[in-house]
Symmetry: C2
């Protein structure tokens, strides 16, 4: 905790105040509680959630508040000397703008996920933070939990960025994915998305591309140093797309995605010129971006040194967005505690928290397996092989005997695809098979990983 803001309620650590206890705010409280130990192993000190301000004091968010104070007084939270960092998660324009400026004026660092606010009033807010010498962090504003802003700002900092484009809105990507896979009309799919909670009851911001334009405005400034607001970006939404369009797109080798696209070109006078737009776009079906389905987001960044890169993850939701907010809190907290804690630990964990950990014994692992066996091509051999698996309780999903690849010496490849089995059982079955005189070569095992 910084000297000035240090109060008597906190022993060590940095104090956090949360304004807005809705979906994201609840996620932030959960992450700070559930991951407290790993956060401290990386920072060297705790992040303490001191108090929360929200108008709704009744709803049970499923969070055990313990000592955390909850009331409706955001200004008192900002003024609370125990609080070093104010997290603004209420959304909208006017109230959060006032609260963020109030927090900066009170000497508090700010974390926000409010892309609409930053895309409209960014200049004023970043200016106020710079003038006060305070941090403002907003990783959660674009791409939810994907660390795309950090990657652009630090990981790719050595590049002239040429292109930033991507699927920046999960709601519309869900609708487009569903329209494509079901052949249903826009209105039917939108209604279902609303019923499932993927779309707001007023879906305008998402469906008309405005949310994507907010995010693209931030990305465009960060990529090219171009000052603009989202109102500068030509924006077209996904209404009016027909099932026929998806069918034809497929025939032509494309998929339809709502993309935010920003590029930097050299103009006729040699100076940079910006291209930025949000629009439903056909992209090659073979591209990585075309495989980003459902409510997921992905951003592609092309730099003059690094070439094409892509960042993929959940673009919204309680926990993914909270992941980004708490990463910002950790970064600012590290700055606050800097004299004691030093910069980021190179191996992510502080040296004293890196220790040998036991490995899972190999025979406790389990999964499906692909096995290529080579056996003599005789009646009864297949049955022998299958018996080796059956005796170890291993289920077989598929067996293929490739007669057409039989060799002159009379052997034939037999491919076996197992159901999930323990490594131990698999190794025992392979031991049995190795002892069969009908098997002429060592089996080739390729393990299968379904969860990628």
């Amino acid at each position: 905790m910084s000297g000035e803001a240090s109060g008597d309620g906190v022993r060590g650590g940095v104090g956090v105040g949360l304004i807005g206890f809705g979906t994201i705010g609840t996620g932030v409280a959960k992450v700070l509680q559930q991951n407290a130990s790993v956060i401290e192993e990386r920072l060297g000190f705790p992040l303490r959630l001191i108090r929360i301000a929200d108008l709704d004091l009744e709803t049970d968010r499923g969070v055990d508040l313990g000592d955390i104070e909850l009331d409706a007084d955001a200004s008192a939270l900002i003024a609370d000397p125990r609080i070093d960092i104010v997290v603004e998660l209420i959304g909208g324009y006017d109230v959060p703008r006032k609260l963020i400026l109030e927090a900066l004026a009170a000497g508090k660092h700010v974390v926000t996920a409010n892309k609409a606010l930053l895309a409209l009033h960014g200049r004023e807010i970043f200016g106020a933070a710079a003038e006060a010498g305070l941090d403002i962090a907003f990783e959660a504003a674009v791409g939810g939990g994907i660390p795309i802003l950090r990657s652009l700002r630090e990981g790719l900092a050595a590049n002239r960025i040429e292109t930033v484009l991507g699927i920046l809105n999960g709601t519309t990507n869900y609708v487009l994915t569903e329209m494509e896979s079901t052949g249903e009309a826009f209105e039917i799919v939108l209604k279902r998305a609303q019923d499932l909670g993927y779309a707001e009851s007023d879906p305008t911001f998402d469906v008309e591309g405005i949310d994507a334009a907010h995010k693209l405005a931030l990305l465009t400034t960060m990529a090219f140093g171009a000052e603009l607001t989202f109102e500068d970006i030509p924006t077209e939404g996904i209404r009016g797309l027909l099932p026929l369009d998806f069918e034809l797109a497929k025939d032509f080798g494309y998929r339809i995605k709502l993309l935010g696209i920003a590029k930097c070109h050299a103009g006729p006078d040699g100076h940079d010129r910006i291209e930025a737009r949000v629009q439903p776009t056909m992209i090659p079906a073979t591209s990585l971006l075309a495989k980003v389905d459902g409510a997921m987001n992905a951003v592609e960044v092309q730099g003059n040194a690094v070439g094409p890169t892509l960042y993929y993850g959940a673009g919204a939701g309680e926990m993914p967005t909270a992941s980004a907010v708490v990463a910002d809190l950790m970064e600012i907290a590290r700055e606050i505690e800097r004299s004691g804690s030093g910069p980021v630990a190179p191996l992510s964990y502080l040296p004293e928290h890196i220790a040998p950990k036991p490995f899972v014994p190999a025979d406790e692992l389990s999964g499906r397996a692909y096995l290529r066996l080579t056996a003599v091509d005789q009646p009864g051999v297949l049955s022998l092989l299958m018996g080796a698996f059956g005796d170890e309780g291993i289920g077989i999903a598929s067996v293929v005997q490739r007669i057409e690849e039989a060799t002159v010496s009379g052997t034939v490849p037999v491919i076996v695809l197992t159901h999930r089995t323990s490594e131990a059982a698999l190794q025992r079955a392979l031991g049995r098979i190795a002892q069969l005189s009908e098997v002429t070569e060592p089996p080739r095992l390729i393990r299968i990983e379904e969860e990628v």
Copy 2:
């Protein structure tokens, strides 16, 4: 430049010395020169490459050295008071270990891309850096230009990491992709990869999975705080895979990738246990990772808050790797100049370098377009429509008239896929079409983006 290391050869800025002027070293020199202005717009001061040490003083690397000194004396470079940060890019184990320890002892920060060294001697080197209070950065050691280490260390720092897995070696991914698409044998494809420069003349490190195990060792420590070396990781390479395996994998709905896989499980006693291995693996053909082809890399990270995320880009090569090295240089330089420069600019560029930039006029943009027109179903209408495009010089790639979707009112959808055309010509053609009495609804335009 830091006070102690400040020499008279440099006016402002941080001094960099480069040990190793091979492929990556050449890339670093190029990025520092070509992107000098954008680097300074983000940092607020220049990064100055002062001198380079390499045994080969003759080869023309295509870099104009200007004032940069090139000689074979790495120790003199380390001792040079003008140099604040030493970049080690010579590869191998013993010599770089000695040089890095020498640089740290001389009070110099270190950047390296040497995963083999860190995977084997990491404990000693990180310990020496921590003791000296100096930075050691190594983003380029894993995933080339992909900012995967920063993402794991900072962007996802709020998460308990559950899984890190990925395609960590471009050479083997190139070989596997080629084997799959051509049906050729391993040895033939490897030979071609060597001829094209994708594989070393001694391909053992890549083909046997050792390079991937080096990288996985670093990822495993950073993800889980687990201390290990690459020798702890069971490693299997790609030799012995047959064309038949790829064929069957496809039949079963899989693709074969060489994956590094690390997971953290709760053991029977509730404590963490690690699973880590490098092996050829079948993964669902529908997964994003399965689409990572050729020499590209991708890493998937699953966190308990953020869920699944994926990071994709070039895993090797002169300029992508240099992108990561220079990002590390910028981060350390910012720390060195800290009192004057402050932390990372929130919008990536310093405020004084963010300015309005002209937009490319919309009618100068160009691309292919998909158009859905609705016209009366009469002879000659198609010719009228095509004439509107022809008159504007727009080439037509495909026309589909969907008779089966004709309406009772006698209209029919006509889908047109154009060749590349300027937006201006397209808008003029659409203006012509709008005036045709045979066209009954406004055209629907979906633009096509091929470069994703």
